[in-house]
Symmetry: C2
Protein backbone atom coordinates (compact mmCIF):
# COMPACT_ATOMS: atom_id res chain seq x y z
CA UNK A 1 0.00 0.00 0.00
CA UNK A 2 1.44 3.34 -1.02
CA UNK A 3 0.32 6.50 -2.74
CA UNK A 4 2.42 8.62 -5.04
CA UNK A 5 1.59 12.30 -4.47
CA UNK A 6 2.93 15.16 -6.57
CA UNK A 7 2.22 18.72 -5.48
CA UNK A 8 3.39 21.70 -3.48
CA UNK A 9 5.09 22.00 -0.12
CA UNK A 10 4.98 25.58 1.09
CA UNK A 11 5.41 27.99 3.94
CA UNK A 12 2.13 29.82 4.56
CA UNK A 13 1.45 33.04 6.43
CA UNK A 14 -2.18 32.97 7.45
CA UNK A 15 -4.45 35.42 9.18
CA UNK A 16 -7.96 34.47 10.27
CA UNK A 17 -10.20 36.16 12.85
CA UNK A 18 -8.83 33.55 15.26
CA UNK A 19 -5.09 34.05 14.87
CA UNK A 20 -2.12 35.01 12.75
CA UNK A 21 0.80 32.72 11.99
CA UNK A 22 3.80 33.29 9.74
CA UNK A 23 5.79 30.72 7.75
CA UNK A 24 3.79 27.72 8.95
CA UNK A 25 3.85 24.38 7.13
CA UNK A 26 1.51 24.39 4.14
CA UNK A 27 1.09 23.33 0.53
CA UNK A 28 -1.35 21.01 -1.19
CA UNK A 29 0.87 17.93 -1.02
CA UNK A 30 1.59 18.56 2.66
CA UNK A 31 -2.06 18.66 3.74
CA UNK A 32 -2.82 15.70 1.48
CA UNK A 33 0.05 13.62 2.90
CA UNK A 34 -0.79 14.33 6.53
CA UNK A 35 -4.40 13.21 6.06
CA UNK A 36 -3.53 10.17 3.93
CA UNK A 37 -0.83 9.10 6.40
CA UNK A 38 -3.50 7.77 8.79
CA UNK A 39 -4.50 5.15 6.20
CA UNK A 40 -1.48 4.47 4.00
CA UNK A 41 2.08 5.45 3.14
CA UNK A 42 2.64 8.50 0.97
CA UNK A 43 5.58 8.82 -1.40
CA UNK A 44 5.94 12.57 -1.81
CA UNK A 45 7.29 14.29 -4.93
CA UNK A 46 7.69 18.04 -4.37
CA UNK A 47 10.31 20.77 -4.13
CA UNK A 48 11.39 23.02 -1.27
CA UNK A 49 14.16 25.61 -0.94
CA UNK A 50 17.28 25.50 1.18
CA UNK A 51 15.46 27.57 3.81
CA UNK A 52 12.90 24.84 4.51
CA UNK A 53 13.03 24.06 8.24
CA UNK A 54 14.37 20.63 9.22
CA UNK A 55 11.63 20.19 11.84
CA UNK A 56 8.95 20.18 9.14
CA UNK A 57 10.83 17.38 7.37
CA UNK A 58 11.10 15.52 10.65
CA UNK A 59 7.37 15.92 11.21
CA UNK A 60 6.45 14.57 7.77
CA UNK A 61 8.78 11.60 8.28
CA UNK A 62 7.19 10.99 11.68
CA UNK A 63 3.87 10.60 9.84
CA UNK A 64 5.46 7.90 7.68
CA UNK A 65 5.69 10.13 4.61
CA UNK A 66 8.59 9.02 2.40
CA UNK A 67 10.59 12.10 1.33
CA UNK A 68 12.95 10.43 -1.18
CA UNK A 69 11.19 12.42 -3.92
CA UNK A 70 11.34 15.76 -2.08
CA UNK A 71 13.88 17.86 -3.94
CA UNK A 72 15.77 20.56 -2.03
CA UNK A 73 16.56 23.20 -4.67
CA UNK A 74 18.76 26.26 -4.56
CA UNK A 75 16.63 29.20 -3.50
CA UNK A 76 13.65 29.81 -1.24
CA UNK A 77 10.57 27.71 -0.55
CA UNK A 78 7.20 28.57 -2.13
CA UNK A 79 5.42 31.06 0.13
CA UNK A 80 1.75 32.07 0.25
CA UNK A 81 0.27 34.77 2.43
CA UNK A 82 -3.50 35.03 2.86
CA UNK A 83 -6.16 36.52 5.06
CA UNK A 84 -9.66 35.17 5.81
CA UNK A 85 -12.69 37.12 7.02
CA UNK A 86 -15.30 35.84 9.45
CA UNK A 87 -17.04 33.72 6.83
CA UNK A 88 -13.73 31.82 6.38
CA UNK A 89 -14.33 31.58 2.63
CA UNK A 90 -12.34 32.97 -0.29
CA UNK A 91 -9.18 34.24 1.39
CA UNK A 92 -7.61 37.45 0.18
CA UNK A 93 -4.17 36.59 -1.22
CA UNK A 94 -1.74 39.12 0.23
CA UNK A 95 1.40 37.72 -1.37
CA UNK A 96 2.55 34.77 -3.48
CA UNK A 97 6.24 33.94 -3.95
CA UNK A 98 6.61 30.87 -6.14
CA UNK A 99 10.41 30.78 -5.62
CA UNK A 100 11.74 27.23 -6.31
CA UNK A 101 8.20 26.06 -7.14
CA UNK A 102 8.25 28.22 -10.30
CA UNK A 103 10.64 25.75 -11.96
CA UNK A 104 9.25 22.59 -10.38
CA UNK A 105 9.88 19.61 -12.63
CA UNK A 106 8.60 16.54 -10.79
CA UNK A 107 11.21 13.77 -10.56
CA UNK A 108 9.85 10.38 -9.62
CA UNK A 109 12.44 8.13 -7.93
CA UNK A 110 12.99 4.89 -9.85
CA UNK A 111 11.60 2.74 -7.02
CA UNK A 112 8.33 4.69 -7.06
CA UNK A 113 7.57 4.16 -10.76
CA UNK A 114 4.87 1.54 -10.18
CA UNK A 115 2.48 3.31 -7.78
CA UNK A 116 -0.87 1.76 -6.94
CA UNK A 117 -2.52 5.17 -6.68
CA UNK A 118 -1.30 8.48 -8.04
CA UNK A 119 -2.60 11.80 -6.71
CA UNK A 120 -1.77 14.83 -8.79
CA UNK A 121 -2.29 17.82 -6.50
CA UNK A 122 -2.80 21.28 -7.91
CA UNK A 123 0.14 22.02 -10.28
CA UNK A 124 0.28 23.01 -13.97
CA UNK A 125 -1.87 20.50 -15.90
CA UNK A 126 0.96 19.83 -18.38
CA UNK A 127 3.21 18.86 -15.46
CA UNK A 128 0.44 16.63 -14.12
CA UNK A 129 0.28 14.84 -17.48
CA UNK A 130 4.06 14.65 -17.61
CA UNK A 131 4.08 12.72 -14.33
CA UNK A 132 1.73 10.19 -15.90
CA UNK A 133 4.35 9.47 -18.60
CA UNK A 134 6.97 8.80 -15.92
CA UNK A 135 5.14 5.97 -14.12
CA UNK A 136 3.51 2.68 -14.94
CA UNK A 137 -0.22 3.35 -15.12
CA UNK A 138 -1.62 2.90 -11.59
CA UNK A 139 -5.05 1.42 -10.87
CA UNK A 140 -6.29 4.88 -9.92
CA UNK A 141 -5.14 8.36 -10.94
CA UNK A 142 -6.82 11.35 -9.28
CA UNK A 143 -6.21 15.05 -9.71
CA UNK A 144 -7.05 18.37 -8.14
CA UNK A 145 -6.72 21.72 -9.90
CA UNK A 146 -7.70 25.36 -9.38
CA UNK A 147 -9.37 28.31 -11.13
CA UNK A 148 -5.96 29.64 -12.21
CA UNK A 149 -5.55 26.65 -14.58
CA UNK A 150 -9.25 26.41 -15.48
CA UNK A 151 -9.08 29.97 -16.78
CA UNK A 152 -5.48 30.08 -17.96
CA UNK A 153 -4.85 26.62 -19.41
CA UNK A 154 -8.27 25.17 -20.28
CA UNK A 155 -7.03 23.00 -23.15
CA UNK A 156 -4.06 21.57 -21.27
CA UNK A 157 -6.31 20.91 -18.30
CA UNK A 158 -8.96 19.19 -20.37
CA UNK A 159 -6.34 16.89 -21.93
CA UNK A 160 -5.08 16.00 -18.46
CA UNK A 161 -8.57 15.39 -17.10
CA UNK A 162 -9.27 13.06 -20.01
CA UNK A 163 -6.28 10.99 -18.88
CA UNK A 164 -7.27 10.49 -15.22
CA UNK A 165 -9.81 8.32 -13.39
CA UNK A 166 -11.00 10.78 -10.77
CA UNK A 167 -11.27 14.56 -10.43
CA UNK A 168 -11.53 16.13 -6.95
CA UNK A 169 -12.37 19.85 -7.17
CA UNK A 170 -14.62 22.53 -5.64
CA UNK A 171 -18.18 22.84 -6.87
CA UNK A 172 -17.47 26.34 -8.23
CA UNK A 173 -14.52 24.89 -10.15
CA UNK A 174 -16.84 22.20 -11.59
CA UNK A 175 -19.17 24.87 -12.91
CA UNK A 176 -16.32 27.00 -14.27
CA UNK A 177 -14.60 24.01 -15.86
CA UNK A 178 -17.76 22.80 -17.63
CA UNK A 179 -19.05 26.36 -18.28
CA UNK A 180 -22.39 25.17 -16.89
CA UNK A 181 -24.34 26.73 -13.99
CA UNK A 182 -26.08 23.47 -13.00
CA UNK A 183 -23.75 21.34 -10.89
CA UNK A 184 -25.43 18.16 -12.08
CA UNK A 185 -24.97 19.09 -15.74
CA UNK A 186 -21.42 20.28 -15.03
CA UNK A 187 -20.58 16.94 -13.45
CA UNK A 188 -21.99 15.05 -16.42
CA UNK A 189 -19.99 17.19 -18.81
CA UNK A 190 -16.72 16.59 -16.95
CA UNK A 191 -17.37 12.84 -16.68
CA UNK A 192 -18.04 12.77 -20.44
CA UNK A 193 -14.42 13.82 -20.99
CA UNK A 194 -13.12 10.54 -19.54
CA UNK A 195 -12.97 10.27 -15.74
CA UNK A 196 -15.21 7.68 -14.08
CA UNK A 197 -15.51 9.64 -10.85
CA UNK A 198 -15.90 13.29 -9.92
CA UNK A 199 -15.99 14.72 -6.43
CA UNK A 200 -17.39 18.24 -6.03
CA UNK A 201 -16.21 19.63 -2.70
CA UNK A 202 -18.70 22.00 -1.06
CA UNK A 203 -16.74 23.26 1.94
CA UNK A 204 -18.82 23.32 5.13
CA UNK A 205 -21.71 21.69 3.21
CA UNK A 206 -19.81 18.46 2.52
CA UNK A 207 -19.17 16.95 -0.90
CA UNK A 208 -21.00 15.36 -3.81
CA UNK A 209 -19.67 12.18 -5.39
CA UNK A 210 -20.55 11.53 -9.02
CA UNK A 211 -19.61 7.98 -9.96
CA UNK A 212 -20.97 6.80 -13.29
CA UNK A 213 -24.69 7.52 -13.06
CA UNK A 214 -24.73 7.49 -9.26
CA UNK A 215 -24.75 10.56 -6.99
CA UNK A 216 -23.87 10.51 -3.30
CA UNK A 217 -23.97 13.44 -0.88
CA UNK A 218 -21.61 13.40 2.10
CA UNK A 219 -22.75 15.87 4.74
CA UNK A 220 -20.71 18.68 6.23
CA UNK A 221 -20.31 18.45 9.97
CA UNK A 222 -21.22 21.62 11.91
CA UNK A 223 -18.07 22.21 13.96
CA UNK A 224 -17.47 23.69 17.40
CA UNK A 225 -14.49 25.66 16.16
CA UNK A 226 -12.97 26.41 12.79
CA UNK A 227 -9.66 28.24 13.07
CA UNK A 228 -8.15 27.98 9.58
CA UNK A 229 -9.73 26.43 6.46
CA UNK A 230 -6.43 26.37 4.54
CA UNK A 231 -5.75 22.88 3.18
CA UNK A 232 -9.27 21.57 3.89
CA UNK A 233 -9.66 20.41 0.28
CA UNK A 234 -6.23 18.78 0.26
CA UNK A 235 -6.80 16.94 3.53
CA UNK A 236 -10.19 15.86 2.13
CA UNK A 237 -8.40 14.36 -0.89
CA UNK A 238 -5.82 12.80 1.43
CA UNK A 239 -8.43 11.09 3.58
CA UNK A 240 -10.28 9.94 0.50
CA UNK A 241 -7.28 8.58 -1.43
CA UNK A 242 -5.68 7.17 1.71
CA UNK A 243 -8.86 5.25 2.44
CA UNK A 244 -9.13 3.95 -1.14
CA UNK A 245 -5.53 2.75 -1.14
CA UNK A 246 -6.54 0.07 1.38
CA UNK A 247 -8.96 -1.54 -1.08
CA UNK A 248 -7.79 -3.62 -4.02
CA UNK A 249 -10.76 -3.09 -6.34
CA UNK A 250 -12.89 -0.24 -4.94
CA UNK A 251 -16.59 -0.24 -5.82
CA UNK A 252 -19.22 2.53 -5.51
CA UNK A 253 -19.83 1.83 -1.79
CA UNK A 254 -16.06 2.12 -1.18
CA UNK A 255 -15.98 5.47 -2.97
CA UNK A 256 -18.84 6.64 -0.73
CA UNK A 257 -16.87 5.58 2.36
CA UNK A 258 -13.81 7.31 0.95
CA UNK A 259 -15.71 10.59 0.53
CA UNK A 260 -16.93 10.35 4.13
CA UNK A 261 -13.38 9.68 5.32
CA UNK A 262 -12.20 12.67 3.29
CA UNK A 263 -14.80 14.78 5.09
CA UNK A 264 -13.62 13.38 8.43
CA UNK A 265 -10.00 14.38 7.79
CA UNK A 266 -10.96 17.81 6.43
CA UNK A 267 -13.10 18.42 9.52
CA UNK A 268 -10.04 17.88 11.70
CA UNK A 269 -7.77 19.94 9.45
CA UNK A 270 -9.81 23.15 9.84
CA UNK A 271 -9.85 22.94 13.63
CA UNK A 272 -6.34 24.35 13.86
CA UNK A 273 -3.76 26.23 11.79
CA UNK A 274 -1.45 24.45 9.32
CA UNK A 275 -1.57 20.65 9.75
CA UNK A 276 -1.43 20.99 13.51
CA UNK A 277 -4.65 19.08 14.18
CA UNK A 278 -3.39 16.20 12.01
CA UNK A 279 -0.05 15.87 13.79
CA UNK A 280 -1.11 13.29 16.27
CA UNK A 281 -4.70 12.10 15.93
CA UNK A 282 -5.53 8.79 17.56
CA UNK A 283 -7.32 5.97 15.75
CA UNK A 284 -10.11 6.44 18.30
CA UNK A 285 -10.54 10.13 17.45
CA UNK A 286 -10.85 9.35 13.74
CA UNK A 287 -13.26 6.47 14.33
CA UNK A 288 -15.39 8.58 16.66
CA UNK A 289 -15.51 11.44 14.14
CA UNK A 290 -16.48 8.99 11.40
CA UNK A 291 -19.31 7.70 13.61
CA UNK A 292 -20.45 11.29 14.13
CA UNK A 293 -20.64 11.72 10.35
CA UNK A 294 -22.60 8.52 10.06
CA UNK A 295 -25.19 9.44 12.67
CA UNK A 296 -25.31 12.97 11.22
CA UNK A 297 -26.72 11.70 7.93
CA UNK A 298 -28.21 8.28 8.67
CA UNK A 299 -31.95 7.76 8.78
CA UNK A 300 -34.06 4.63 8.75
CA UNK A 301 -36.45 4.15 5.82
CA UNK A 302 -39.64 6.18 6.18
CA UNK A 303 -42.51 3.84 7.21
CA UNK A 304 -44.66 3.12 4.14
CA UNK A 305 -47.76 4.19 6.11
CA UNK A 306 -46.47 7.75 6.21
CA UNK A 307 -45.70 8.08 2.51
CA UNK A 308 -48.40 9.74 0.41
CA UNK A 309 -51.14 7.39 -0.79
CA UNK A 310 -52.30 7.34 -4.40
CA UNK B 1 -55.39 15.22 11.11
CA UNK B 2 -55.26 18.90 10.26
CA UNK B 3 -52.81 21.75 10.40
CA UNK B 4 -53.66 25.34 11.19
CA UNK B 5 -51.50 27.63 9.03
CA UNK B 6 -51.38 31.41 9.38
CA UNK B 7 -49.45 33.43 6.82
CA UNK B 8 -49.53 35.27 3.54
CA UNK B 9 -51.31 34.58 0.27
CA UNK B 10 -49.92 36.78 -2.46
CA UNK B 11 -49.66 37.51 -6.14
CA UNK B 12 -46.02 37.36 -7.21
CA UNK B 13 -44.32 38.74 -10.28
CA UNK B 14 -41.15 36.76 -10.75
CA UNK B 15 -38.28 36.98 -13.18
CA UNK B 16 -35.57 34.35 -13.32
CA UNK B 17 -33.11 33.58 -16.14
CA UNK B 18 -35.64 30.91 -17.17
CA UNK B 19 -38.81 32.96 -17.46
CA UNK B 20 -40.92 35.91 -16.36
CA UNK B 21 -44.43 35.61 -14.94
CA UNK B 22 -46.71 38.31 -13.55
CA UNK B 23 -49.32 38.00 -10.79
CA UNK B 24 -48.81 34.30 -10.21
CA UNK B 25 -50.00 32.55 -7.07
CA UNK B 26 -47.54 33.06 -4.21
CA UNK B 27 -47.21 33.76 -0.50
CA UNK B 28 -45.72 31.78 2.36
CA UNK B 29 -48.97 30.14 3.43
CA UNK B 30 -49.76 29.17 -0.16
CA UNK B 31 -46.51 27.31 -0.77
CA UNK B 32 -46.74 25.76 2.69
CA UNK B 33 -50.32 24.57 2.14
CA UNK B 34 -49.66 23.08 -1.28
CA UNK B 35 -46.77 21.00 0.04
CA UNK B 36 -48.54 19.94 3.24
CA UNK B 37 -51.67 19.00 1.31
CA UNK B 38 -50.01 15.77 0.13
CA UNK B 39 -49.87 14.55 3.73
CA UNK B 40 -52.66 16.24 5.66
CA UNK B 41 -55.46 18.83 5.57
CA UNK B 42 -54.53 22.47 5.95
CA UNK B 43 -56.85 25.02 7.58
CA UNK B 44 -55.65 28.30 6.12
CA UNK B 45 -55.88 31.67 7.89
CA UNK B 46 -54.82 34.51 5.59
CA UNK B 47 -56.15 37.58 3.80
CA UNK B 48 -56.54 38.42 0.12
CA UNK B 49 -58.10 41.39 -1.67
CA UNK B 50 -61.20 41.54 -3.80
CA UNK B 51 -59.00 41.20 -6.89
CA UNK B 52 -57.80 37.72 -5.94
CA UNK B 53 -58.61 35.39 -8.85
CA UNK B 54 -61.26 32.75 -8.23
CA UNK B 55 -59.24 30.09 -10.04
CA UNK B 56 -56.51 30.30 -7.37
CA UNK B 57 -59.14 29.67 -4.70
CA UNK B 58 -60.47 26.76 -6.74
CA UNK B 59 -56.96 25.34 -7.01
CA UNK B 60 -56.31 25.55 -3.25
CA UNK B 61 -59.66 23.89 -2.53
CA UNK B 62 -58.79 21.16 -5.06
CA UNK B 63 -55.75 20.41 -2.91
CA UNK B 64 -58.04 19.94 0.09
CA UNK B 65 -57.04 23.25 1.70
CA UNK B 66 -59.89 24.57 3.85
CA UNK B 67 -60.41 28.28 3.11
CA UNK B 68 -62.96 29.09 5.83
CA UNK B 69 -60.28 31.26 7.49
CA UNK B 70 -59.30 33.07 4.28
CA UNK B 71 -60.59 36.61 4.64
CA UNK B 72 -61.43 38.58 1.50
CA UNK B 73 -60.85 42.20 2.48
CA UNK B 74 -61.66 45.44 0.70
CA UNK B 75 -58.65 46.41 -1.39
CA UNK B 76 -55.94 44.65 -3.34
CA UNK B 77 -54.04 41.45 -2.65
CA UNK B 78 -50.46 41.55 -1.30
CA UNK B 79 -48.07 41.74 -4.26
CA UNK B 80 -44.34 41.04 -4.45
CA UNK B 81 -42.14 41.52 -7.49
CA UNK B 82 -38.65 40.04 -7.59
CA UNK B 83 -35.85 39.13 -9.94
CA UNK B 84 -33.29 36.33 -9.58
CA UNK B 85 -29.87 36.10 -11.24
CA UNK B 86 -28.22 32.92 -12.49
CA UNK B 87 -27.22 31.80 -9.01
CA UNK B 88 -30.94 31.81 -8.07
CA UNK B 89 -30.10 33.16 -4.61
CA UNK B 90 -31.07 36.44 -2.91
CA UNK B 91 -33.62 37.88 -5.33
CA UNK B 92 -33.67 41.59 -5.96
CA UNK B 93 -37.00 42.95 -4.69
CA UNK B 94 -38.36 45.21 -7.42
CA UNK B 95 -41.64 46.11 -5.69
CA UNK B 96 -43.62 45.24 -2.56
CA UNK B 97 -47.26 46.28 -2.15
CA UNK B 98 -48.58 45.02 1.19
CA UNK B 99 -52.14 46.20 0.39
CA UNK B 100 -54.68 44.26 2.51
CA UNK B 101 -51.82 42.33 4.16
CA UNK B 102 -50.69 45.55 5.91
CA UNK B 103 -53.68 45.34 8.27
CA UNK B 104 -53.80 41.55 8.53
CA UNK B 105 -55.33 40.54 11.84
CA UNK B 106 -55.57 36.74 11.81
CA UNK B 107 -59.07 35.50 12.65
CA UNK B 108 -59.26 31.83 13.57
CA UNK B 109 -62.70 30.27 12.89
CA UNK B 110 -64.30 28.86 16.04
CA UNK B 111 -64.19 25.30 14.73
CA UNK B 112 -60.40 25.54 14.20
CA UNK B 113 -59.53 26.57 17.76
CA UNK B 114 -58.16 23.18 18.79
CA UNK B 115 -55.55 22.47 16.10
CA UNK B 116 -53.17 19.54 16.45
CA UNK B 117 -50.34 21.44 14.78
CA UNK B 118 -50.00 25.18 14.27
CA UNK B 119 -47.66 26.64 11.68
CA UNK B 120 -46.99 30.34 11.96
CA UNK B 121 -45.58 31.41 8.60
CA UNK B 122 -43.59 34.62 8.25
CA UNK B 123 -45.72 37.47 9.65
CA UNK B 124 -45.09 40.05 12.41
CA UNK B 125 -43.93 38.13 15.53
CA UNK B 126 -46.51 39.89 17.71
CA UNK B 127 -49.25 38.64 15.37
CA UNK B 128 -47.74 35.16 15.56
CA UNK B 129 -47.97 35.28 19.35
CA UNK B 130 -51.49 36.69 19.15
CA UNK B 131 -52.59 33.61 17.19
CA UNK B 132 -51.28 31.44 20.04
CA UNK B 133 -53.68 33.19 22.44
CA UNK B 134 -56.62 32.41 20.14
CA UNK B 135 -56.24 28.64 20.08
CA UNK B 136 -55.98 25.79 22.57
CA UNK B 137 -52.28 24.93 22.79
CA UNK B 138 -51.55 22.36 20.06
CA UNK B 139 -49.09 19.50 20.51
CA UNK B 140 -46.69 21.27 18.14
CA UNK B 141 -46.26 24.94 17.25
CA UNK B 142 -43.71 25.85 14.58
CA UNK B 143 -42.75 29.20 13.13
CA UNK B 144 -40.84 30.73 10.27
CA UNK B 145 -39.62 34.34 10.20
CA UNK B 146 -37.34 36.57 8.13
CA UNK B 147 -34.49 39.08 8.44
CA UNK B 148 -36.97 41.97 8.40
CA UNK B 149 -38.28 40.90 11.84
CA UNK B 150 -34.91 39.68 13.12
CA UNK B 151 -33.52 43.17 12.56
CA UNK B 152 -36.65 45.24 13.16
CA UNK B 153 -38.42 43.44 16.01
CA UNK B 154 -35.79 41.36 17.80
CA UNK B 155 -37.46 41.50 21.23
CA UNK B 156 -40.95 40.65 19.93
CA UNK B 157 -39.46 37.83 17.89
CA UNK B 158 -37.51 36.42 20.80
CA UNK B 159 -40.64 36.37 22.98
CA UNK B 160 -42.50 34.53 20.23
CA UNK B 161 -39.68 32.03 19.69
CA UNK B 162 -39.68 31.30 23.44
CA UNK B 163 -43.35 30.30 23.09
CA UNK B 164 -43.03 27.80 20.22
CA UNK B 165 -41.75 24.23 19.91
CA UNK B 166 -39.97 24.45 16.57
CA UNK B 167 -38.24 27.15 14.54
CA UNK B 168 -37.75 26.63 10.77
CA UNK B 169 -35.49 29.34 9.30
CA UNK B 170 -32.55 29.84 6.92
CA UNK B 171 -29.05 29.26 8.23
CA UNK B 172 -28.17 32.95 7.69
CA UNK B 173 -31.24 33.87 9.74
CA UNK B 174 -30.04 31.52 12.52
CA UNK B 175 -26.72 33.32 12.65
CA UNK B 176 -28.34 36.77 12.54
CA UNK B 177 -30.92 35.85 15.17
CA UNK B 178 -28.33 34.49 17.61
CA UNK B 179 -25.68 37.07 16.63
CA UNK B 180 -23.24 34.18 16.35
CA UNK B 181 -21.13 33.26 13.27
CA UNK B 182 -20.94 29.53 14.13
CA UNK B 183 -24.14 27.78 13.03
CA UNK B 184 -23.74 25.16 15.77
CA UNK B 185 -23.41 27.82 18.48
CA UNK B 186 -26.26 29.83 16.94
CA UNK B 187 -28.52 26.77 17.03
CA UNK B 188 -27.66 26.13 20.67
CA UNK B 189 -28.39 29.73 21.55
CA UNK B 190 -31.81 29.68 19.87
CA UNK B 191 -32.73 26.35 21.46
CA UNK B 192 -31.75 27.79 24.86
CA UNK B 193 -34.60 30.32 24.47
CA UNK B 194 -37.21 27.58 24.59
CA UNK B 195 -37.86 25.62 21.38
CA UNK B 196 -37.02 21.91 21.41
CA UNK B 197 -36.30 21.79 17.68
CA UNK B 198 -34.58 24.08 15.18
CA UNK B 199 -34.29 23.51 11.45
CA UNK B 200 -31.68 25.55 9.59
CA UNK B 201 -32.55 25.52 5.89
CA UNK B 202 -29.51 25.63 3.61
CA UNK B 203 -31.11 25.97 0.19
CA UNK B 204 -29.53 23.69 -2.42
CA UNK B 205 -27.34 22.18 0.33
CA UNK B 206 -30.27 20.72 2.27
CA UNK B 207 -31.08 21.40 5.89
CA UNK B 208 -29.74 20.80 9.38
CA UNK B 209 -32.04 19.57 12.12
CA UNK B 210 -31.11 20.43 15.71
CA UNK B 211 -33.28 18.46 18.12
CA UNK B 212 -32.18 18.56 21.74
CA UNK B 213 -28.51 17.55 21.58
CA UNK B 214 -28.89 15.72 18.26
CA UNK B 215 -27.88 17.03 14.84
CA UNK B 216 -29.09 15.60 11.54
CA UNK B 217 -28.10 16.73 8.04
CA UNK B 218 -30.59 16.22 5.21
CA UNK B 219 -28.83 16.46 1.85
CA UNK B 220 -29.75 18.77 -0.99
CA UNK B 221 -30.59 16.97 -4.21
CA UNK B 222 -28.71 18.21 -7.30
CA UNK B 223 -31.56 18.93 -9.70
CA UNK B 224 -31.88 18.73 -13.49
CA UNK B 225 -33.69 22.03 -13.64
CA UNK B 226 -34.44 24.82 -11.19
CA UNK B 227 -36.76 27.44 -12.66
CA UNK B 228 -37.87 29.48 -9.64
CA UNK B 229 -36.72 29.10 -6.02
CA UNK B 230 -39.57 31.27 -4.65
CA UNK B 231 -41.40 29.43 -1.89
CA UNK B 232 -38.79 26.69 -1.50
CA UNK B 233 -38.51 27.33 2.23
CA UNK B 234 -42.29 27.41 2.67
CA UNK B 235 -42.84 24.18 0.75
CA UNK B 236 -40.02 22.67 2.82
CA UNK B 237 -41.94 23.61 5.98
CA UNK B 238 -45.16 22.30 4.42
CA UNK B 239 -43.66 18.90 3.63
CA UNK B 240 -42.12 18.72 7.06
CA UNK B 241 -45.18 19.75 9.08
CA UNK B 242 -47.54 17.79 6.82
CA UNK B 243 -45.46 14.69 7.43
CA UNK B 244 -45.35 15.24 11.21
CA UNK B 245 -49.12 15.72 11.39
CA UNK B 246 -49.50 12.03 10.57
CA UNK B 247 -47.69 10.95 13.74
CA UNK B 248 -49.26 11.19 17.18
CA UNK B 249 -46.12 11.53 19.28
CA UNK B 250 -43.20 12.26 16.91
CA UNK B 251 -39.73 11.23 18.08
CA UNK B 252 -36.26 12.21 16.77
CA UNK B 253 -36.36 9.66 13.92
CA UNK B 254 -39.75 11.08 12.84
CA UNK B 255 -38.32 14.60 12.82
CA UNK B 256 -35.48 13.33 10.60
CA UNK B 257 -38.01 11.82 8.20
CA UNK B 258 -39.97 15.06 8.28
CA UNK B 259 -36.90 17.08 7.30
CA UNK B 260 -36.25 14.71 4.40
CA UNK B 261 -39.89 15.02 3.29
CA UNK B 262 -39.58 18.79 3.53
CA UNK B 263 -36.55 18.58 1.23
CA UNK B 264 -38.53 16.36 -1.15
CA UNK B 265 -41.37 18.87 -1.45
CA UNK B 266 -38.99 21.84 -1.78
CA UNK B 267 -37.12 20.01 -4.55
CA UNK B 268 -40.36 19.78 -6.52
CA UNK B 269 -41.38 23.36 -5.77
CA UNK B 270 -38.29 24.89 -7.41
CA UNK B 271 -38.72 22.91 -10.63
CA UNK B 272 -41.41 25.31 -11.86
CA UNK B 273 -42.80 28.80 -11.21
CA UNK B 274 -45.36 29.48 -8.46
CA UNK B 275 -46.78 26.23 -7.02
CA UNK B 276 -47.17 24.76 -10.47
CA UNK B 277 -45.05 21.67 -9.82
CA UNK B 278 -47.11 20.93 -6.68
CA UNK B 279 -50.47 21.15 -8.44
CA UNK B 280 -50.77 17.53 -9.28
CA UNK B 281 -47.96 15.33 -8.04
CA UNK B 282 -48.66 11.62 -7.81
CA UNK B 283 -47.96 9.57 -4.72
CA UNK B 284 -45.50 7.62 -6.87
CA UNK B 285 -43.56 10.75 -7.82
CA UNK B 286 -43.21 11.77 -4.18
CA UNK B 287 -42.21 8.28 -3.08
CA UNK B 288 -39.67 8.01 -5.89
CA UNK B 289 -38.17 11.40 -5.04
CA UNK B 290 -37.97 10.38 -1.37
CA UNK B 291 -36.13 7.20 -2.39
CA UNK B 292 -33.72 9.32 -4.43
CA UNK B 293 -32.99 11.37 -1.31
CA UNK B 294 -32.44 8.21 0.67
CA UNK B 295 -29.99 6.67 -1.79
CA UNK B 296 -28.33 10.08 -2.17
CA UNK B 297 -27.18 10.09 1.44
CA UNK B 298 -27.25 6.46 2.57
CA UNK B 299 -24.07 4.52 3.12
CA UNK B 300 -23.38 1.24 4.86
CA UNK B 301 -21.07 1.29 7.89
CA UNK B 302 -17.38 1.45 6.94
CA UNK B 303 -15.81 -2.00 7.46
CA UNK B 304 -13.81 -1.98 10.70
CA UNK B 305 -10.76 -3.28 8.81
CA UNK B 306 -10.52 -0.03 6.89
CA UNK B 307 -10.72 2.30 9.90
CA UNK B 308 -7.37 3.52 11.25
CA UNK B 309 -5.67 1.16 13.70
CA UNK B 310 -4.26 2.37 17.02
Amino acid sequence: MSILCVGSVALDSIETPFGKHDDILGGSATHFSCAASYFSTVNLVAVVGEDFPQHHLDFLRSRGVDLEGLEVATGSTFRWKGRYGYDLHNPETLDTQLNVFADFNPKVPQSWCEPKILFLANIHPALQRDVLTKVKRPKLVALDTMNFWIEGEPEELRRTIAAVDMVIINEAECRALAKEPSLLQAARTILSWGPKTLVAKQGEYGALLFHGDEVFAAPGLPLEKVLDPTGAGDSFAGGMIGYLDQISDPQYEDFKHAVVMGSVMASFNVEDFSCDRLRNLSAEEITRRYQTFRSLSHFEPVPADFLPKA
